[in-house]
Symmetry: C2
Subunit: 367 residues, 2 copies
């Protein structure tokens, strides 16, 4: 499975793996794909610095990428404490009451009150500065085009920039801003996602940006058949995320022991697209937590970045409870295909092998 | 493009074309696919009888299919007049007021008051009886498994039965009931559709039903690349619908002159999944009509079959108004790819040619 992106990045397979775990990212890169480390969880830039140094040392010299979360327009800014003032009391009460009803215990005194700050523009910028002192070959932005000066800075360091798009018109705007690679993120994807499904979105984006801009198909990719489908639609590679949450290497990061129980039993119908995670529509595992927010008396989610601050402590409490029925986790519809925990290298090998089988099958249909 | 379904049905290409137009159905069958005539619009069985006789005479002896709308469980039954008694006055007032606000004129006295009765079980049964006196090779049911006696009756006539499924568990139930072919109808599809997108649903269904039950991929299929993607996912053929609404042959049936303007300008983001057409979730073109039903003060849609009776006259008025901004039309996200009105034979030829190109491209990636 080789496309021109393999030459661009010096990789064996055009399999791009978004993951919050440096262990997964390193294993994907070592296996011939491109591991892309999600930076949003690093509130502490020193920790990101140490993690990227670890990646430098554990990828056998193979390339890797980083993923930041940076809106083009700078949103409400400030410390977590400042911003809390904008969160309505009714929302806080709903969260407290819901956790009580779901039987999620409070955290021990003094633990885990802080939210994820990576959604803040200033923090995302510091992630970028730290990353550019290492050797990423790709910076991906989960919220579309980063600001133009960020793209230019990446290019000065010889680093390519990828941006997620949920519609062809967004992809065109990214290309105008100087983005090199478009990730066409279909409706079925985990995390932030739009309304158009991969089967329609991928060729839409490919045709809109033209042959000079490579497109990665994202959303619904968990097997070699799905890789073949995405490349048939015109993608030059695939952007994957969910499937790496079901690997042995991810266990190093998994903060919720109930998580494996939850995804092993989930079908592709057990996800929901909702604004409750960050304030923008994102696909999560459907659990008692998401169901509570879908009830008649639940408040409307707040805009980004307030919603994530609102639920940050709740997420920490939920993770500490290890209850598979109450999980708050971005995941794509492909969760239905995650039926065993495997080493990353096995997953990569299966994707490549199944791709070849699928193409051989399609070839027989031409006769 | 040949799979085992070509031998099963005596067709050249595993392209199944659902259409309410006998002109489109005949043209698809003549071009080597399988035209499948939607029967739901025929309130008058004599008209269906005449239409199927026309199909018999205009398909050059090539096979065709029919599509009925029959729930497994028999819903509220009765004449249109009986059922009207169950429709709340508030709903009727909302429809009247909305049409007024959208500038849709009333119909001339005595015209088009009757709704579509094909949603009624008794009417769907009469469609089946009429069809079996002709030579369909396939009966498809848009609402999943038809009742078991209907499946058995079809089999006695040597006719295969296909059923739509939006989740793997529904597909398994259809197979248990004796259905021969599953149409895996993805989220992006026009008309009745579920939550799981084709990229995930097709392999889910293929793996669930096993190698002995052919699966047709449906939802998002409007180009040969999309056909290749669907077959890569494990489908043995594709079920298409939307794209035939953009053909010259469809003009024989098009009751709304604004329709071509509307779909030629629509992008893949211009559809919406809503219960306002039949009471069950169905994807429609997003227009001022669907937006009105999405407003805060709109009532909840009624259950099937009441919702369609509620809006039946409104649909007739909307069609008679020829206003491209106010259309009530089931259509898939693939509408964004419908950018020219072409003869059916050209569309079929493009699908086949692009399939071959896509597979040849995938083959180069194996090197």
């Amino acid at each position: 499975m080789r496309t021109s992106l393999c030459d661009t990045f010096g990789i064996d397979y055009p399999i791009f793996a978004f993951t919050p775990s440096e262990h997964v990212a390193a294993a994907v890169s070592r296996a011939g794909g491109l591991g892309v480390l999600g930076c949003v969880r690093f509130n502490d830039t020193d920790e990101l610095e140490r993690t990227l140094t670890w990646l430098d040392d554990n990828t056998d010299g193979k390339p890797y990428g980083v993923d930041i979360v940076m809106p083009m327009k700078i949103p409400t800014e400030g410390t977590s404490a400042d911003l809390s003032a904008y969160i309505p009391e009714d929302h806080k009460r709903f969260v407290d009451q819901t956790l009580l009803e779901l039987g999620v215990p409070p955290l021990p005194e003094g633990e885990g009150r802080e939210g994820v700050l990576g959604w803040l523009h200033s923090v995302a910028r510091s992630h970028l500065d730290v990353a550019l002192n290492h050797r990423p070959v790709l910076i991906a932005n989960a919220l579309g085009s980063p600001p133009v000066d960020v793209i230019e800075k990446a290019h000065e360091h010889g680093v390519k920039v990828a941006a997620l798009a949920g519609a062809a018109k967004h992809a065109l705007r990214h290309v105008e801003n100087g983005v090199d690679i478009i990730v066409a993120q279909g409706y079925e994807a985990g995390g932030h996602t739009g309304e158009v499904a991969s089967m329609v979105l991928t060729p839409d984006v490919v045709d809109a940006v033209g042959p000079d801009v490579p497109v990665l198909g994202a959303g619904g990719i968990g097997s070699g058949r799905q890789v073949a489908a995405s490349l048939a639609l015109g993608a030059q590679g695939v952007w994957t995320g969910s499937i790496w949450l079901g690997t042995e290497e991810y266990r190093n990061l998994a903060s919720n022991r109930g998580w494996e129980t939850a995804f092993l039993r989930a079908t592709s119908s057990d996800t929901v697209r909702t604004r409750i995670y960050t304030g923008k529509p994102a696909r999560l595992l459907k659990t008692r937590w998401t169901e509570a927010w879908a009830s008649q008396d639940a408040p409307e989610p707040l805009p980004m970045p307030l919603q994530n601050l609102l639920v940050a402590e709740a997420h920490n409490r939920i993770n500490a409870s290890h209850d598979p029925d109450v999980i708050s986790m971005p995941i794509g519809q492909v969760v239905g295909r995650m039926n065993a925990v495997r080493p990353v290298a096995d997953v990569v090998a299966s994707l490549v092998e199944e791709y070849d089988e699928a193409v051989a099958r399609l070839e027989t249909y031409r006769k």
